[in-house]
């Protein structure tokens, strides 16, 4: 374990670089794995020699005490501190040892990555899951801002097979835990109030 940085610490190169988070993982040569999102939202990962890193922000600055669990909406803690950089919300769909399986969307395409828990914070915890399973053919989404509106094509036990079209008209398929799927609320039928007087139709 690094003697210099705590897992979850925000770090930066001595020279200009994005703010990154130390995941707690070291390679065999003592280089530290750091994670960050680029401007497009792609997760970047690299191992840096500790001598070229400086400590920017302490772990406790990020943590709000909420645990990462399945269904948590998480982000890299450092995203909150990068000026002008939009936070990339990720949804935890599984846990694997010391890592969380996170998904998010870039240009409506699903990205799934395993990310060490120490790198993550839970900006909000949402209670998921409709009491009833969504119906096949219904319009569903996932509770992160980048998620597209999808059609539920089939349910295989606890997994839902979801389809959606990209702007380029390519058809994409994703399989997500049913308990994380949210119904897309259909907009209310439009009522033109100019046709009414005191709520009563002319």
């Amino acid at each position: 374990m690094s003697e210099v940085f705590e897992p979850g610490t925000g770090v930066q190169l001595k020279e200009h670089s994005p703010i990154m988070v130390f995941s707690g993982i070291e390679d065999e040569n003592g280089h530290l794995q750091c994670l960050w999102h680029n401007d497009s939202g792609h997760l970047q990962e690299y191992y840096f020699h500790p001598e070229i890193l400086i400590d920017m922000l302490k772990t406790e600055t990020f943590s709000n005490g909420m645990l990462v669990e399945i269904g948590s909406v998480v982000s890299l803690g450092v995203d909150h501190w990068a000026p002008g950089k939009p936070e990339v919300e990720m949804l935890v769909t599984g846990l694997n040892g010391g890592s969380a399986i996170c998904l998010w969307f870039i240009d409506q395409r699903c990205v799934i990555k395993e990310i060490p828990l120490a790198s993550l914070v839970v900006p909000r915890q949402v209670k998921y899951g409709a009491e009833e399973k969504p119906e096949i053919g219904s319009n569903i989404t996932l509770p992160i801002s980048s998620a597209p509106s999808m059609t539920l094509a089939s349910i295989d036990e606890e997994k839902g097979d979801c389809l959606w079209f990209l702007d380029s008209k390519d058809l994409v398929r994703g399989v997500f835990p049913v308990s994380l799927l949210l119904p897309v609320l259909e907009p209310s039928p439009h009522i033109d109030l100019t046709e009414y007087e005191d709520g009563i139709p002319f």
Binding site: E15, P18, N38, H42, Q44, F48, E51, K85
Partner: protein, 124 residues
Amino acid sequence: MRSLKIGDMVALKRDHQDMIVNRIDPKAGLHECIWFKGDGSIMASDFPLEALELSEARINRFLNRNPHLKRYNLLMGPFIPDAWDETDYEKGHNKPNEFSKSRNPYHDENADLDQQSQEFWDWF
């Protein structure tokens, strides 16, 4: 050229992209250099020592060819003050207090500095 060490700011000879030495493989004689693109993505590549030079050496060469320019005036760009050796000051290129003034964005000589910095970049 002296051997490179971790954290050195270097560039390929005949190029001006500053890179940082992140790993050295002494057996293979390769230096892993990293740099960031404008969108926050990282790039990395391995280079032999012969292909690299210290960014500082590049500046020195430029100053030797352009003695009318002052070192600190070039530092308005992406260069890091810590990279400069105290002995540079002793050579009369500039004084530390002059340097600190040049970093002040409200310094009166900004227009002159910009021009000199531009001359440096045009040199490449």
